[in-house]
């Protein structure tokens, strides 16, 4: 009797253990029908506007693969369980959540947040636990500089700052200016890296950095900096700062009568919030991006239409959605190629990526970065249009209309 009871108890415990493994997802795939993928995204806080776009892109790709029966690994179909946590735009929270997703939720890989202040801490976690992470919108040089020994499990799809900074001057060359630049950058990783590159690149294109402002994130008052930029007679303005700070700068430039001919607002004007908060003052601002409606990569236009249906109407926001979708597909392809849920095998397979996705061709270098081509967009009539490389029917508006 007691032997039967012991056996029954053992069976019950084994059943509970199996059930809990199924509930938690898993990495091994030993009879487990679910693959867990995680993401820690800024869904609230200063960076939320872009976080929600990536979330929608990730989710759309996961919905598609699940609707198609799941992800096939080793002859077995796996349901993909995407766990997304809100890091409130806080790097420490992002780091803690990444650890939780990897170790507690057993995520085989993570999809990244964006911008270096969030991507770098999450990348550090990926390196620590030795599981892959694919991120985007972290300028490559800034991201690489955070780990001089090189990334092993983290991957980044974004443009190279050198190409981006060169493009700023190529675009400025499209109109007549005195080639004097006012450079405004905050002290985040990308601000520091980009500021240095713009300063280095300017002379090669015949430009002079006539005024340079470096300031902490959260700066609200720019009176003295604007006065200095005006005094320096800078007709080209390049700014890299968070949206709230950039909006404050634009409002104050308008109020204080600073009218640059070319005005670029990197990061700050990356969503429709820019126009909602600034109205016409935001018109004419330039911003580098990786996708526009002129792109015809496979699936690109269909995804844009889906994004529009989901309420993501502005081109620049559809770009975020399409990028989110594309890097999720990169991960799925890698898992299929690895034919395993083993993180090391997936990681190796990510490195072999060489395919054109809706956002464009993706192929990682030995430094784990894929430098996709940057294009320049401009806010015109409430939406972004591609102004560089030039496309037919669109021209660069200068002076920047909102500040004129």
């Amino acid at each position: 009797m007691s032997t039967v009871s012991k056996a029954a108890r053992s069976l019950f415990l084994m059943a509970m253990l199996a059930l809990s493994m199924v509930a938690c997802g898993g990495t091994g795939g030993s009879g487990n029908q679910t693959i867990v993928i995680g993401a820690t995204l800024p869904l609230t806080g200063a960076l939320a506007a872009v976080g929600v776009l990536l979330k929608a892109g990730y989710q759309a790709a996961v919905d598609d693969i699940n609707a198609a029966g799941g992800l096939e690994v080793n002859g077995q179909k796996y349901h993909v369980n995407l766990i997304i946590l809100d890091n409130t735009s806080d790097p420490n929270t992002a780091s803690n959540q990444a650890t939780t997703l990897y170790l507690q939720d057993n995520a085989v890989a993570l999809l990244g947040p964006f911008t270096p202040p969030l991507v770098i801490p999450v990348s550090q976690v990926a390196e620590r636990v030795k599981r892959p992470l694919i991120s985007t919108t972290a300028p490559i040089e800034a991201w690489l500089s955070a780990r001089p020994s090189g990334w092993q499990y983290s991957w980044d799809v974004f443009f190279d700052e050198k190409q981006q900074t060169s493009m700023s001057f190529q675009v400025a060359n499209m109109v007549k200016t005195n080639k004097r630049v006012a450079l405004f950058t905050d002290n985040e990783e990308d601000g520091v890296t980009m500021g240095k590159l713009w300063t280095e690149e300017a002379p090669q294109f015949g430009y002079t950095i006539a005024y340079r402002a470096i300031f902490p994130v959260g700066t609200t008052n720019f009176s003295s900096q604007i006065a200095a930029a005006k005094a320096a007679n800078a007709e080209v303005l390049i700014a890299q700062m968070t949206p709230p700070d950039a909006m404050a700068l634009w409002k104050q430039m308008k109020a204080l009568g600073y009218h640059p001919i070319v005005a670029e607002s990197e990061k700050g004007s990356s969503t429709t919030t820019w126009m909602q908060a600034l109205g016409n003052v935001g018109e004419g601002a330039l911003i580098a991006n990786f996708w526009s409606r002129s792109f015809t990569y496979p699936g690109s236009q269909e995804l844009a239409a889906r994004a529009e249906k989901a309420g993501i109407k502005a081109t620049i926001e559809q770009a975020g959605y399409i990028m989110g979708y594309s890097i999720t597909e990169v991960l799925f392809d890698a898992i299929k190629r690895a034919d395993s849920t083993d993180p090391d095998a997936i990681n190796r397979a990510i490195g072999q990526t060489n395919k054109t996705y809706p956002v464009g061709p993706i192929r990682f270098g030995s430094n784990h970065a894929d430098p996709i081509r940057a294009i320049m967009l401009q806010w015109q009539n409430g939406d972004t249009v591609q102004v560089y490389p030039p496309v037919s029917g669109v021209s660069l508006e200068a002076p920047a209309k909102g500040l004129a």
């Binding site: 609230t44 300031f215 902490p216 009176s223 003295s224 006065a227 308008k254 204080l256 909602q276």
Partner: protein
């Protein structure tokens, strides 16, 4: 050029006075630090945003309605939530106001989303020339508002029966109660007044910059700096502290560089606290002679 920065900072300081005045009033009368002051400011900005969007009225005009609404909200918070906690000590009140901060941040995000918003008005995009320097019109408005609020609050405290009751409750709540002053009511009115005054600061923040659900914390920090420098709870100290911080920020940003602005402001604050721990005006508003 330095003279221009002094002018810019002086007017910017006016804005800082309007955001810190509510904190001063609450501390001066109840000896309590309201950690949700940033959310009172941002909540006012959201309320003004809603009203301005619905009515298409000028945001400053909307204050005629926003300030009384904030008064009622402040009064109810003090009467229903904070007053019952007073017997449990300052730590409990601090935790309670911190809780309010978190609740408010979440509510703002749920109601308005997480994007940065801004209040629109033609004068936010114009400047006026003062002694050859172009100053944002909104900063000039802020300085005028700051002076009116400080003088108005001073007159209220000094000459009106309500002000005298507030001062009595601030100086000795027990003695005030023994002569028939309804101290919980006075506390409620004080918190309501602080919220109404903060409505002006919050609306000015919305007009001058941008705001989102989590931006309140940075304004709380700035308010703290102002009132600690001026003297915790002192009206005139808040005026002086706000103007000083504005000038110091502008001069530091222009002379040393904007990246060192906060470093210099806080280093100055530390030095002042070492030399004069009570700030420039050490007396609380309620007990000031």
């Amino acid at each position: 050029m330095l003279f221009y920065h002094l002018i810019d900072g002086f007017f910017l300081g006016g804005l800082y006075v309007t955001i810190a005045l509510g904190l001063t009033l609450v501390f001066g009368v109840m000896n309590t630090v309201n950690l949700a002051q940033g959310e009172v400011l941002i909540g006012s900005a959201y309320l003004t945003y809603t009203l301005a969007s619905l009515t298409h009225l000028d945001p400053l005009l909307c204050l005629l309605l926003v300030a009384p609404i904030m008064f009622v909200i402040g009064y109810l918070v003090q009467r229903l939530l904070l007053n019952p906690l007073i017997p449990r000590g300052q730590e409990t009140l601090l935790v309670a106001t911190f809780g309010l901060l978190l609740v408010a941040e979440t509510l703002f995000g749920l109601i308005y989303g997480n994007n940065t918003l801004s209040l629109s008005a033609s004068y936010t995009l114009t400047g006026v020339t003062i002694f050859g320097d172009t100053v944002r019109t909104i900063y000039v408005i802020a300085l005028v508002a700051a002076l009116l609020l400080v003088v108005g609050t001073h007159l209220l405290m000094t000459y009106l029966p309500l002000g005298k009751a507030i001062r009595a409750a601030a100086e000795d709540p027990g003695a005030a109660a023994s002569i028939g002053i309804n101290v919980p009511l006075v506390y409620g009115i004080t918190f309501g007044l602080a919220a109404a005054i903060s409505a002006v600061g919050g609306t000015l923040i919305g007009l001058s910059f941008g705001f989102g659900p989590t931006t309140g914390s940075s304004w709380l920090l700035r308010s703290f700096t102002v009132i600690v420098l001026g003297g915790m709870g002192s009206l005139w100290g808040t005026l002086l502290g706000g103007l000083l911080i504005g000038v110091l920020e502008e001069v530091a940003a222009s002379v040393v560089g904007p990246q060192f602005r906060d470093l210099i402001v806080f280093a100055f604050l530390v030095i002042v606290l070492i030399v004069r721990p009570e700030g420039f005006f050490g007396q609380r508003v309620g007990v000031a002679k």
